[in-house]
């Protein structure tokens, strides 16, 4: 394991712990229009988008496990769902490599929707009482909407935390050349 890779693992672990603590200690207690933001699927999707499918899946599994353990809930449920979220976001990056400012927003909203539906479905299959009806729909759509709003800044924060441990992206280097003083092809004589 080279130094960068180890650094990435440490950073991901730290992100997972901080996210879980933030979610439990603060974010879950702030309700807007009866719903609250859910940072965990957003962070899992962000890691998947930044690091790829496998790191995303492993990170999703890990943060899900941590969440289940910290909340004293059924172990394995969050792991399974967030593993899918991280993997899916990572595969999207690997297959399509979407660019644009709106990508984190759309991926965040999608990840939240998948996570919430997944939770509801698995809990329903496990025989737990799920409030099926308008309340669930409101909870689902409200959380998706709030998460969509915070998805882009959260993605930027995760990216900032991980960027130093990640290999240099050639496209990023190229764009930097245009925006930090380098000449644009259009400006050349």
């Amino acid at each position: 394991m080279n130094l960068d890779y180890r650094s990435l693992v440490w950073r991901l672990a730290l992100i997972a712990v901080v996210t879980v603590i933030l979610q439990i200690a603060a974010v879950s207690q702030v309700r807007i229009l009866g719903v609250n933001a859910d940072l965990v699927p957003l962070v899992a999707a962000s890691v998947g988008l930044l690091c790829g499918a496998m790191p995303g899946a492993i990170f999703g599994f890990g943060i899900g496990m941590l969440l289940d353990l910290a909340l004293v809930e059924t172990v394995g449920v969050a792991s399974l769902i967030l593993l899918a979220v991280g993997y899916g976001a990572g595969r999207l990056r690997e297959l399509r490599d979407p660019q644009g400012a709106i990508v984190p927003l759309l991926v965040g909203a999608g990840a939240t929707l998948v996570a919430l539906l997944g939770f509801s479905m698995i809990l329903f299959l496990l025989g737990q009482r799920v409030p099926v009806g308008w309340s669930l729909l409101w909870e689902l759509l409200g959380t998706v909407a709030i998460n969509a709003v915070i998805a882009t800044p959260l993605y930027a924060v995760v990216r900032r935390c991980l960027v130093a441990a990640m290999p240099e992206d050639p496209r990023r280097r190229r764009r930097r050349a245009y925006t930090t003083g380098g000449l644009s092809p259009l400006s050349k004589p």
Binding site: I21, L22, A26, L33, M54, V72, T74, S79
Partner: protein, 289 residues
């Protein structure tokens, strides 16, 4: 090389999914003292103080965001509460109205029972119009000849005599109130037993008087005045009003014991706020006592 990487990825993914499902199954299968539950309690024990500290540290931020959330929630709830408030106000008004009408009907029933007026075939009617003049000397009611009402029938409210029917059509009638100057009601002052006629004085509708009381009768303020009914024991001159219906209370007496004595009374019925009345459609024994 590529195939190997893909295989490894798939294996890792399958292992993670399998691990999740195994954990899930094991968690459900074991008792609360099992390994996973113990590990969970251990992690919870480690996380609890961290959570507590984080919760304290993040309280200002939480409060700030909570304030925004509460404000948005409050704005949403204002409309909801206003709608609810309107509905409750309308319901309260309806209840209050129903209670008031119920009170009036109850008083009417009491009057019918106590005064033996049930045999007079009372027809209950709602006041649907009132004379717009300041005198309020007539009201219209929503029952008419189709209910057996005819001109001249006495009209009472729960408090006492109101007037008499002056016009009757199929479905509605006009009631002339006792405050009308043209109406004269044979009356008796309870206690003294003095007979007289209740009419409106020159002062207006509130100026009810009982006239033609013989000077030998001593009349005190506060005495009740009721309808006298038919005074003669036989003959065609029957009173329109059954005996014993409360009319009002003597308020003051001027020049008592003289031929010029003036006895003022106040009507028991609130003639300006009538809602439910009864029309007595059938005289009992020629309205004799």
């Amino acid at each position: 090389m590529y195939d190997k990487t893909v295989r490894r990825r798939r294996l890792t993914l399958a292992a993670l999914v399998a691990a999740s499902l195994l954990l899930l199954t094991a968690y459900f299968g074991e008792s609360s003292g099992g390994a996973l539950h113990s590990a969970q309690r251990g992690v919870f024990g480690i996380f609890s103080p961290i959570q507590e500290g984080a919760s304290t540290v993040l309280k200002p931020a939480r409060d700030l965001f909570g304030w925004f959330g509460d404000t948005i929630d409050a704005k949403g709830r204002v409309n909801e509460l206003e709608r609810s408030n309107q509905q409750l106000r309308a319901r309260a008004l309806a209840s209050s109205e129903a209670l008031r009408i119920n009170g009036q009907l109850q008083r009417l029933l009491n009057l019918d029972t106590a005064g033996g007026l049930a045999a007079a075939k009372p027809v209950t009617a709602r006041v649907i119009g009132q004379s717009p003049s300041v005198w309020y000397s007539t009201v219209s009611i929503n029952e008419g000849t189709s209910s057996g009402i005819k001109v001249g029938d006495p009209v009472i409210s729960g408090d006492g005599l109101v007037g008499q029917v002056s016009t009757a059509t199929g479905g509605s009638s006009i009631v002339t109130l006792i405050s009308d100057g043209e109406l004269a009601v044979p009356a008796r002052i309870s206690g003294s037993g003095a007979d007289g006629v209740v009419q409106t004085g020159a002062g207006g509708p509130d100026d009810l008087r009982i006239k033609f009381v013989a000077r030998r009768f001593r009349v005190d303020p506060g005495a009740a005045v009721v309808t006298a009914g038919t005074l003669s024991t036989s003959g065609p001159l029957e009173s329109l009003y059954p005996p014993g219906i409360p009319i009002g209370k003597v308020t003051r007496v001027e020049d008592p014991g003289t031929d010029a004595q003036k006895i003022y009374l106040r009507s028991y019925a609130d003639l300006q706020r009538l809602e439910i009345v009864q029309v007595l459609t059938q005289p009992i024994n020629g309205n004799r006592r």
